[in-house]
């Protein structure tokens, strides 16, 4: 201990701080390793959809955001347009930009360090970082999640891609269900947390399913972003209802 401020209160505070940081690192490693293993599903899905093993691995290294990767593979597998598939995948990655708005302040990243940090701003790192009680453990949890998830996600992508190349018919193993099940599991806490979310989800399903026979694969999912606006209009509409009553 090189406690220069040496008071008992200072020590206690610091101990509590490092305990929180250690707990954040444990959380991060747990999420990183368990969720990272679903890279197996992505690797298999990508190869099943017609990507090469190298393409699946490069996508995991460069995009490093599961939803977008599954989306691109899904459009390829469905025989959809590559342009629409790419746009849809990138649009799905837009939420990472929205996470960044919050993380920039929380992590205190500035200058060039943002270039490295940006690559690992995703669902899981955001979830772990924002669940911590203080900025120091938020940073610890963020980076523990980032490193473990990046390593495991990319290794398991390779494993899944190589495995799928040997498996005859991936649908026989239920692999076509893995993508939607993974999204559903990631969404679950939000779908069950509020009525606005549930309404947006229903609207998004209606839009996407209705648009599917009419538009190229990939486009209906992009179009479903409109459902979020509908959800906002409706929540905004319920509040000023009293004001409207005056006029």
């Amino acid at each position: 201990m090189t406690a220069s401020d040496g008071t008992a209160a200072g020590d206690a505070e610091r101990d509590a701080g490092s305990a929180a940081a250690r707990s954040a690192v444990r959380d991060g490693l747990g999420v990183g390793i368990s969720v990272g293993l679903s890279g197996l599903a992505f690797g298999a899905a990508a190869v099943t959809a017609g990507m090469s093993v190298a393409q699946a691995c490069v996508l995991s290294l460069l995009a490093f955001t599961g939803a977008s990767q599954f989306a691109l593979a899904g459009v390829l597998g469905g025989g959809g347009s590559l342009v629409a598939g790419t746009l849809g995948a990138v649009l799905l990655g837009a939420r990472n930009g929205l996470y960044g708005l919050r993380l920039a302040g929380l992590l205190g990243v500035r200058g060039r360090r943002r270039l490295l940090t940006a690559h690992v701003v995703i669902d899981e790192t955001t979830a772990v970082a924002t669940a911590q009680p203080d900025p120091r453990s938020a940073r610890a949890g963020f980076w523990a999640t980032a490193f473990s998830l990046y390593a495991v996600w990319n290794l398991s992508t390779l494993g899944g891609a190589l495995g799928a190349a040997r498996i005859g018919d991936p649908e026989a193993f239920g692999m076509d269900v893995l993508g939607p099940a993974a999204f559903l599991a990631l969404l679950w806490p939000r779908l069950t947390s509020g009525r606005a979310e549930a309404r947006v989800a229903v609207a998004a399903i209606v839009v996407a399913v209705a648009a599917t026979p009419l538009l190229p694969p990939g486009v209906p999912v992009m179009l479903a972003a409109v459902a979020a606006l509908a959800g906002m209009v409706r929540t905004a509409g319920t509040r000023p209802a009293a004001e409207r009553g005056e006029g």
Binding site: V90, F173, L184, A185, A208, P217
Partner: protein
């Protein structure tokens, strides 16, 4: 080749968006409507993706029994608060069992 371009473009696009969030001025988030929108867009996009992957094959809508059962099993697992990987295993396992060739 076209697939490589899609892979690289997706990688670059996804990275650019991640970076955008970190360099945008914080005051943008001050508007509650912007904050609300940031919460709802991923819900809309991911739900739509689940729906399309479950109910569509390309531009054709189709009801695949084992796939629907797999998703149903995933919902059951989520209601029982199963961990992420268990949900995936239950979903894929259910679909796989129902696809076993009879006899």
């Amino acid at each position: 080749m076209a697939v490589w371009i899609a892979v690289l473009a997706t990688g670059v696009g996804c990275y650019a968006l991640k970076l955008t969030g970190l360099v945008v001025p914080q005051r943008v988030l001050a508007d509650p409507r912007v904050r609300r929108f940031t919460e709802l867009v991923p819900v809309a996009l991911l739900t739509a993706l689940v729906a399309v992957q479950t109910l569509a094959d390309g531009r054709a809508l189709e009801l695949d029994g084992p796939r629907l059962a797999g998703l149903g099993a995933a919902v059951a697992a989520l209601l029982l608060r199963a961990p992420f990987l268990v949900v995936l295993a239950v979903a894929a396992g259910t679909a796989a069992l129902l696809r076993l060739p009879a006899g």
